[in-house]
Symmetry: D3
Amino acid sequence: MQIFVYNPNSSAEMTALIAHTAQAAASAGWHIRTQGAQPPVPPSIEGHHDEALAVPAMLDALRRAEAEGAQAHVIACFDDPGIGAAREVVAGPVIGIAQAAMQVASLIASRFSVVTTLPRAIPIIEDLARNYGAGHCLRRVRAVDLPVLALEADPAHAHHLLRQEILAAKTQDGAEAVILGCAGMSEMCARLSEETGIAVIDGVHAAVRLAGALAGGGYQTAKTGAYAWPRDKSHDLTPVAQLRRPAG
Amino acid sequence: MQIFVYNPNSSAEMTALIAHTAQAAASAGWHIRTQGAQPPVPPSIEGHHDEALAVPAMLDALRRAEAEGAQAHVIACFDDPGIGAAREVVAGPVIGIAQAAMQVASLIASRFSVVTTLPRAIPIIEDLARNYGAGHCLRRVRAVDLPVLALEADPAHAHHLLRQEILAAKTQDGAEAVILGCAGMSEMCARLSEETGIAVIDGVHAAVRLAGALAGGGYQTAKTGAYAWPRDKSHDLTPVAQLRRPAG
Amino acid sequence: MQIFVYNPNSSAEMTALIAHTAQAAASAGWHIRTQGAQPPVPPSIEGHHDEALAVPAMLDALRRAEAEGAQAHVIACFDDPGIGAAREVVAGPVIGIAQAAMQVASLIASRFSVVTTLPRAIPIIEDLARNYGAGHCLRRVRAVDLPVLALEADPAHAHHLLRQEILAAKTQDGAEAVILGCAGMSEMCARLSEETGIAVIDGVHAAVRLAGALAGGGYQTAKTGAYAWPRDKSHDLTPVAQLRRPAG
Amino acid sequence: MQIFVYNPNSSAEMTALIAHTAQAAASAGWHIRTQGAQPPVPPSIEGHHDEALAVPAMLDALRRAEAEGAQAHVIACFDDPGIGAAREVVAGPVIGIAQAAMQVASLIASRFSVVTTLPRAIPIIEDLARNYGAGHCLRRVRAVDLPVLALEADPAHAHHLLRQEILAAKTQDGAEAVILGCAGMSEMCARLSEETGIAVIDGVHAAVRLAGALAGGGYQTAKTGAYAWPRDKSHDLTPVAQLRRPAG
Amino acid sequence: MQIFVYNPNSSAEMTALIAHTAQAAASAGWHIRTQGAQPPVPPSIEGHHDEALAVPAMLDALRRAEAEGAQAHVIACFDDPGIGAAREVVAGPVIGIAQAAMQVASLIASRFSVVTTLPRAIPIIEDLARNYGAGHCLRRVRAVDLPVLALEADPAHAHHLLRQEILAAKTQDGAEAVILGCAGMSEMCARLSEETGIAVIDGVHAAVRLAGALAGGGYQTAKTGAYAWPRDKSHDLTPVAQLRRPAG
Amino acid sequence: MQIFVYNPNSSAEMTALIAHTAQAAASAGWHIRTQGAQPPVPPSIEGHHDEALAVPAMLDALRRAEAEGAQAHVIACFDDPGIGAAREVVAGPVIGIAQAAMQVASLIASRFSVVTTLPRAIPIIEDLARNYGAGHCLRRVRAVDLPVLALEADPAHAHHLLRQEILAAKTQDGAEAVILGCAGMSEMCARLSEETGIAVIDGVHAAVRLAGALAGGGYQTAKTGAYAWPRDKSHDLTPVAQLRRPAG
């Protein structure tokens, strides 16, 4: 089984990191193929604008990956950018890391918090949680106030800040699990969980697990409604009368 | 990896059917162990009373199964009876078939309907969907108005009624996927999907897939909040003063 | 009019305390009959597991009580355990103390907080409030972090902690009323209200008042839907064809 | 115990009818005092405008009634007009018949519908249900399309239309109980329930029962927040500096 | 185009202030006509009781204003008192300053807080936000704990307290915009925004802008449902049979 | 005042139509500048994929328009594609036609329905309504089942189908207003309203009115949170230690 993991930003370092985490999440027999975007796609996704620039290339990449054998797709950015569009252009299930992390969290805990990078992501993640139906389980979205790429620039500092926020989530929010709200935090997950004594969930790991579960179970995206294939519009200007009404 | 699939009712026929579906849902290397309840647990779960009678035996069974090596647990009844209690008594993730089916549905479709047995289950399933945060994706819960055990007694008739309701969900509700709202319908799933041209999701299959995904990914139930181990109360009557305040 | 008040745990001390409060809440002419569970039912209900073990005995007790003349039933545990099942097995109205307290609170205040025993009860009570439609009126659930039985072991300490949390609810949460989130706190209600200058609502008292109101008004549980009598399954295996289709 | 039942419209016939129902709902020892508005208050409350004109007189009446000994108040119009204002001007609990009917319904049924007079009341009642937290239990609001006063003008016709809608609520909506959404329908309640085989709840009856329960239990409206006594503004123009800052 | 701005309280000072702000918000060609209530209408609206007393006079004023040429109406009190009734009695669009401010806020920001006068207004404003569908965008309602009229009595002190709360909303709540929750704060809006570095929205200004937009666009209140003209009840007692059934 | 109206699809016919409607909606002194996309942007937006392809070009166009003097922006596609991203890249307020239509509808009616083109848009529009907080006012989204471009190909047929659905919304849904859910329907708005006797709201018209209201009132998009300018990432790889910690 082949799972395509796409990093929608153009940071090669982050793609490498995601590839590593995705590989570690795979079961025997799962072939993980990780790919990142190329410039001019932004090197990090921080807000709606960055998302918007990243999605067209992502749709191409998913389509190509499916043509080359991918049976499931993971979008490795915590904003789940373009998830609806992605579900339209491929048949295999498409798993966003935010939705995956929230689904896993709600299977093992009754309340969770999210720790992300920049404060501007807080309402975006809150809205995702609400749209995914996890609003009543989400205690709080916390931000360490570091840009995404700074996670790589000084991992020790990032780790320190994350640990502080996770402990605050545990003691102040009443969270039973904490989700890391950025694909760039994946590698710190296990250590943070050990150090803080609370379940810490990484979206990339969660999404790869669900992608394997769905693809292995034969599930495909429903093509009869919101996620139907994009329409070919070449005949749309033919007068409807001609198409619909009996000649006569 | 060992997955424990528990049928909370005492119908041996339904346990056999669930075992068959669960086995078919397993990946290579997954050991599925299916077990059902014994009388006087009711032979079918139809409403809160039947659920309540089924849960204590279920908790014992899960505990024993985990002691004997189970790493994840599936509760194979669409009411997800006792799911919170189950998550307290074991460490492995516990997956209810309703929650699993709704999670899978929300990964591959934007709107879904559920087809269940008796009308009295309709508000129960609506409440589950609301509690799981899928209320805004649930188009409608439909009932074929057959008792659970009648599914086995006349499968052809049951199949006919299910097909009708699935088609109604597709054309009248605008559902993009239909969930079978009873573990006893599992075997009809593939054929119903083919005949109706819409994705049909069976909870037992979905739950086994998610159980394997979570256990294989090392996830365990969070033990720091709502799903902490049940408390041993033997010391609770010790005066608190003695426990908390420094002797003086 | 006879009202049956059932303590779902097996602490005789707490049953006595509940009996006392229930009696004090009764109007002239109401006959209050209080009964508690017997071991091995747990001596306190702290979480879903304890609830699950307490419900089957509770259903038997309610049925018997109704056979012996009870016209309404109070479940005197703030988790409202088994409330749906209870409504199936008797005809008289069944009042849970959490639902009663929240209904009374929403008739006399626009916002309220709840003070309970252990932190693990917080998400359970939040979920109850949401299910009862009081989520937008609930300011916060606070826990004094004492086991249920410790309320009896050192009432002075318990009273001190409760008073602190009630004052915090008043000044920090903007609560206009505070609900005591445990049947074991009933006796402290009046004094806490006096000392803190805010309405303090005890669930046992509220539930007995509502039970009397409903039974005295002739209300009975609706038996045409979710709370219909449990089904007798003895004929379910008769082929449906035989039952439904005209012979011919 | 004295319960004040106020009909906010000026139809003397409807006040008489409400008095009759309220009296029938009372337990021994409850003194029911029913009063209606006088012209120019409208003879029926059909929409927000009529409500607005009815409230000032109602507030006066409640204040007077409390000064004369009333311990609880019922507002006998299904829009619950001015309920917040009423709770500000008296100390006794104030029960609106819509809120009362919905609370009683949610204690004895999991889903209910409402049958009202004019279609223009449908969104008003839906909004009430949502504000009272009963939105997820409300199946549908149905209107017989008769003005309020026409209920009295041709009761047989009104009864016929109500029966039809109640049966539709039972069979089409999946309602387990039906609430009569107008104080003018109170007298038909018992017969409609018998004829349709479904619980039919009248708001006046429900509200009187709850008013007795709360007043008898010593509950009073919380005066520390939204329902505090109206402010006396005579000193508001005193410069705040003078009031708050130490002279110096 | 003529816009009628009505101050529902009887403080002439506040009416003057509102007139000034409304005028400043007008585009060329908009004729603003501001009017306030007369005693015995309360000089400030602080709670439901004050609202109730203010509405009947307001309805008369709006009707008269429309007869005299007004094409849109602004209710200049942040509780939006009687907004439904107002929409029934006139044809021009009726804009409440709370609804206007929340609509504008949700067009330029993803999250906002409100700063109001007295704590008792907090639940009222929260409920408005929820009813207007802005609940998930509202971070928090904060109160400076000053009576409405004290804003005029010591504007410097009021300004100081408002600035503090706005800064708290910005730094503690994560608000991106702050709404001034009282018509009496209008004049301080621009300066507060400059001093705090966050968008500050005044309801009177927002409502006048929207009123002009709607009236200038030809929009009128829908008269086919909840906001239909108040019913004339003079024929309601005619037997329905006579009105509806064919004579025979 | 200059308002930029952008048609995110590349149909020149639809751009012309939108320009016409936008111009008609303008007040004196408003300069409307309408522009459409160029191929390869799709000629119609029907689903998430088409949206994703349309957004990058739209962001460029808005930026350029603002540099050239635009003070407000209208996105003339009923999916409100890229609205968050657009709010990040310009300072002037950005108005989507769906959000505008729903805001106007909720100011003049208590319940509304939407009539759109293809059934696949139904869940998209439902989700928009929910995100904009209008979920409880939205009666139903109806589709005439015509592609967007077919509206132009056979306007008479389109008009016929729209009229039917609007009448159904009025009589079956209880809608008080109907929103046209596609920019391509704008020109039919007035006639449809006359023929059906119900308020019909066109999003382009509504959005131009609101854009003028906001820009004329000096409102700008808040730049302190979710809609802050896109981040320049050129310094993000500088070690954080260097940036944040004092040298020493």
